[in-house]
């Protein structure tokens, strides 16, 4: 009888531990097993990404639609090439979609906001977003302001 309680509580313990692991995987990391995992990648060139990180979110109208997959630098032109992984299968966003780098809150993380355009043609895997606006860098803004004040 004593052995039986031991077995039952051990079974419950192992079960609870396994459930905890599953809970961590599903609820905490937000892995959705049923979710559509298809995605496509588009790139964009920015003159300055200033602190944009890989895995930063890509959003349209404030709704997250993808993530930054990689950030490379084009040494020849001195530009940053950002690859974005967007959910879905492409063929939805118009070719003249714009991309801008914004900041969440005052001290928040950088993210990319997409501004859909009106072109008939659409972006598909591997395409490049042409209209981009890089990140605002505080030092540049202040420098700009100082020169303008000096001029007037």
């Amino acid at each position: 009888m004593r052995m039986r309680t031991v077995e039952i509580s051990t079974g419950a313990f192992v079960l609870a531990g396994t459930l905890a692991l599953i809970f961590l995987a599903v609820r905490v990391s937000g892995v959705n097993l049923a979710a559509d995992r298809s995605s496509y990648t588009v790139t964009a060139r920015f003159d300055d990404v200033a602190g944009l990180q890989t895995r930063a979110k890509v959003s349209i109208a404030g709704v997250t639609v993808g993530r930054v997959a990689a950030i490379d630098v084009d040494l020849e032109y001195g530009e940053a090439i950002v690859s974005m992984e967007l959910k879905g299968s492409g063929g939805v966003l118009s070719m003249d979609t714009g991309a801008q780098i914004l900041t969440e809150g005052i001290l928040g993380a950088r993210y990319i906001n997409l501004l859909p355009g009106a072109d008939e043609e659409t972006l598909s895997d591997g395409d490049e977003i042409e209209q981009t606006q890089g990140a605002m860098v505080l030092e540049n803004l202040i420098g700009d302001l100082v020169t303008r004040l000096g001029a007037s």
């Binding site: 051990t10 313990f13 609870a16 531990g17 692991l21 001290l107």
Partner: protein
């Protein structure tokens, strides 16, 4: 002077021999893979080291989660970034505090018990009488405890993390009036299944191996006197706590070293 040098030398050699013996015992015990007949023994040990550690683990997890949330909240609220409480809490727990604190509790609660038990068996010559009866103590006593430790600590760590995150949520959301949506969506957006959860599990498996190894060996190698058992038990807790912290530093360096 010569005597001093001789003392240093012989003590170093003793240590080296200890490491060698520990490795031999560990390898020999693991070499004896569990047979079907050993399963009840392993279950009993999982009960001893796992189930009985549950209360202390759950209690500490709740308190640590609550305290972390409280501190995060008061600091982050200054910047209006209360929604980041959940992320900070989850990452700190999954990557560091969960595995480490559970391992420390495990060393104190289960490691010391294993050492004391095996040490007493050795002192009362149960181990040698087993050998005389043709029962292999490594197979019957040491191996089940090792396997039970390997199974129990990762499970305890998972339970610790869940309870601590809930404890933190209770403080951050119910008490401090945070936004539950922001709490969970922040966590889900930032936590990666392999980078955060997987690596935490790897850590706890490593800690499980280290702690049970030290505990079992200290018991097996204890000096067969009452003081010997006491010394061995203390040594188990001290050595495994220090080892856990040191190894955690190394693991963190190698896992998250580039901090991308």
């Amino acid at each position: 002077m010569i005597r001093f040098l001789r003392g240093v030398g012989s003590r170093s050699l003793d240590r080296l021999a200890g490491v060698g013996r520990a490795t031999l015992v560990f390898a020999a015990a693991l070499w004896r893979l569990p047979r079907p007949a050993d399963v009840p023994l392993i279950i009993k040990q999982i009960y001893q080291v796992g189930v009985l550690s549950l209360v202390i683990v759950v209690l500490s997890a709740f308190c640590i989660g609550a305290v972390l949330a409280l501190q995060f909240h008061t600091q982050l609220a200054k910047f209006g970034a209360q929604d980041a409480v959940g992320v900070g809490l989850a990452l700190v727990l999954l990557r560091e505090l969960g595995p480490v604190v559970t391992a420390l509790l495990f060393a104190g609660r289960a490691g010391s018990a294993i050492t004391a038990e095996i040490g007493l068996m050795k002192t009362t010559e149960q181990l040698s009488s087993m050998e005389m009866m043709g029962v292999d103590p490594l197979q019957r006593i040491v191996a089940p405890r090792l396997w039970a430790g390997f199974v129990s600590l990762p499970l305890l760590t998972a339970i610790f993390n869940v309870v601590a995150i809930y404890g933190g949520m209770i403080v951050a959301v119910e008490w401090m009036g945070g936004d539950p949506g922001g709490f969970w969506s922040g966590i889900q957006a930032e936590v990666e299944i392999w980078d955060d959860i997987g690596k935490g599990v790897v850590k706890s498996v490593v800690f499980a191996v280290v702690i049970t190894w030290i505990a079992v060996f200290q018991g097996y190698d204890t000096e067969p006197t009452p003081e010997g058992i006491g010394l061995a038990t203390t040594r188990t807790v001290v050595v495994s706590s220090v080892m856990v912290l040191a190894i955690d530093f190394l693991l963190t360096l190698s896992m998250y070293g580039d901090f991308k």
